[in-house]
Symmetry: C2
Subunit: 404 residues, 2 copies
């Protein structure tokens, strides 16, 4: 939806970042440093590094730059052309390449530790994925490196600000889904081959994908590269990106997971059948719908995450379908995963760890058969003190309707 207000910014329909509320705080990092007797934390990466996006809110360049946390102070070094943007987006100290002697991002991290945090050695915590050359620079500068997953842990539990960003981008996903559902509802069925035809054009999965992605663009969602649209047997290919015709009697599965302007992902799946004969697809739909309900019921802070999967899988088995990653047909994946600045993050709903208040996870049971089709329904929910809140507001119906 384009801006409708008279002024730019707050009235434009795009969230104006509330910088203070967006800041993650470094309490978890500080606690980890203390617990591990470490002097600092270093991460090096580019704009595609989700840990850095979370830690700094800086959307950054597409080449490596360093983040350093030491002495309760946070630093980053940005290319000069990005300095203004970094100072707007990041709460800590921004240095530019001209401020430092070192050129390489890892060497800059070592220089920040030594010259700006005043350290002359000690243990530095790093993500396991720290670039190898950065590790070498830090070790040469006299720091001992140890891996930490403190950032992934800190990212898991979402703040109120983060939950609102997730809700916003989920709403954009819903708008994209509504467009695809409307196309399916309005399409004519060609008698010769049961093919769907929309505004004179035979419908394919790529046709639907473009319809969805155009709406995502208009909704201010910048990144739509994850939109999966499949039909018929292709629904059993969980990452189907091909282009196949869409027929009236087959399942059409749409998995819409755009990234919002602040870096958070939505994740929404619905499955439609335009003209069901009430056979396999109907039974699969009932199984999946019921499995999602059972999975919802299992969500509770303190419960093992995997119990959510187990409840969903048991329900699908009760409907006579198989469940297991090794099967060719049935429920072949886990029932959900955490979502944040990464599309897949902790917690996995097949892991044994306990759910926490603030976990944001998908709940997405599915049943697939390469010979018959595939059905998946996916919502995005946040774990609360009382159970969960569904961040999704989209009907679960297999018959497409016009939605405007």
């Amino acid at each position: 939806m384009p801006p409708t207000g008279d002024d730019a910014g707050g009235d434009s329909g795009r969230a104006t970042p509330d910088r203070a509320a967006s800041r993650p705080g470094y309490g978890a990092l500080a606690a980890e440093l203390a617990a591990r007797d470490a002097v600092g934390f270093v991460a090096v990466g580019d704009r595609f590094d989700d840990d850095l996006r979370y830690l700094t809110r800086f959307s950054g360049p597409d080449r490596a730059w360093p983040f350093v946390y030491a002495g309760e102070e946070a630093f980053l070094c940005a290319p000069a052309l990005f300095a203004e943007q970094a100072r707007e987006e990041f709460a800590g100290t921004v240095l530019t390449q001209g401020d430092l002697a070192a050129d390489a991002a890892g060497a800059q991290a070592a220089e920040l530790l030594a010259e700006h945090a005043g350290l002359d050695g000690g243990t530095v915590l790093v993500p396991a994925s720290l670039p190898h050359d950065a590790a070498v620079y830090l070790e040469r500068a006299g720091f001992a490196l140890e891996s930490t997953d403190a950032v992934a842990e800190a990212r898991r539990v979402k703040s109120a600000w983060e939950v609102e960003r997730l809700r916003e981008v989920q709403a954009a996903a819903q708008a994209g889904m509504a467009r695809a559902e409307t196309v399916l509802a309005e399409a004519a069925v060609r008698e010769t081959d049961d093919r769907l035809v929309h505004e004179g054009v035979p419908v394919t999965t790529e046709y639907l994908r473009r319809e969805v992605n155009a709406v995502l663009g208009a909704e201010g969602v910048s990144d739509a590269h994850n939109t999966v649209v499949a039909a018929g047997g292709a629904c059993a290919d969980l990452h189907f990106y091909g282009d196949v015709p869409v027929h009236a009697d087959e399942t059409v599965l749409l998995d819409v997971s755009p990234r919002g302007p602040e870096g958070y992902y939505g994740d929404l799946t619905r499955t439609f059948v335009v003209d069901s004969s009430g056979g396999w697809d109907r039974r699969a739909y009932l199984a999946v719908e019921s499995a999602q309900d059972m999975a919802f019921d299992a969500i509770e802070a303190g419960a093992p995450a995997e119990s959510v999967h187990e409840e969903g899988a048991a329900e699908i088995v009760a409907y006579g379908f198989g469940a297991g990653a090794d099967l060719d047909a049935g429920f072949t994946h886990g029932v959900g995963h955490g979502v944040g600045v990464s599309l897949h993050e902790a917690p996995s709903l097949t892991a044994s760890e306990e759910l926490r208040v603030g976990d944001v996870v998908t709940v997405e049971p599915g049943v697939y058969d390469p010979e018959k089709g595939g059905v998946r329904i996916e919502d995005l929910v946040v774990v609360t003190e009382d159970g969960f809140e569904n961040l999704t507001d989209y009907p679960r119906s297999s018959t497409p309707r016009v939605r405007r």
Copy 2:
């Protein structure tokens, strides 16, 4: 543009990947291994790793996986859920996590070297950005690591297949630009404040960005997160993502750089003024247009890349504007950069290395003044035997026209 043909696939408007033509070949890697007396090459990364995208064409999961080249054979290990996709996209040997004993991607790389390439030690070449934990696994398995930039070098010179992908995504960028230019041409000017109004809605930079990104989505371009739209003084902020009103007498700068379905980027910038009074912006426009012409003239295989920048910068200075990264106003950036599966890659047009046939670069001079506005014009060109071919087909005009 949605599919118009009667059949899916080739008629849909989306390029059907020609798998054989898309394959990069590993000749450059093999030569580098021989020259450095190394037994293999290893890269580890996720779907956002552009080297891996180039080497494998596998669009992959958002968690780390390994690629190994040894004994003239290429391997990757994918999560089981991605095995089918990997086998479609990658020409080499695909193993899945179930085929290997190791869990971590770096340990899987070591296992691939030892068990599948039959190596029990020796020097392995890796990108400098190899994750630190992968380096540790490889060293523990008895391999000595040395960095190589052979992949970046190999990526530089584009094949005919790659040039066609770049041309296609540049055409999508042009369609997005045409939409924004049309909005500007159709907009009314509100007398009270000189503000543009389109279909009753006051135009902002975010309004234009959404119009562009909606078209990119409809064009089958999945990733539009780089679209920059600025107006007036904000044009001097090269990475402006904010939302400001657009007035008739100020510069409107649009930089559209979507990623196509095969991973290649387009890059197109135009600047418009709806109702110019012929002052600063007109002079800046003439300077930039002329600077682009001079830069074009300097493009020649064998010429130092930086000579292209120097010719463009000299022309801007001849028009009375400054040129230099330290200036507040003037031409404050380099005139261009390589484009491929990364938006910014080799060669930089401020580097001393020689241009080669097959280099694909932007040519994008600009003049900025935070008090007055900013003008940039950017085309994407490929260096040829005879000079260059412009992959862009979009008018250079500062007065917006309706383009449909």
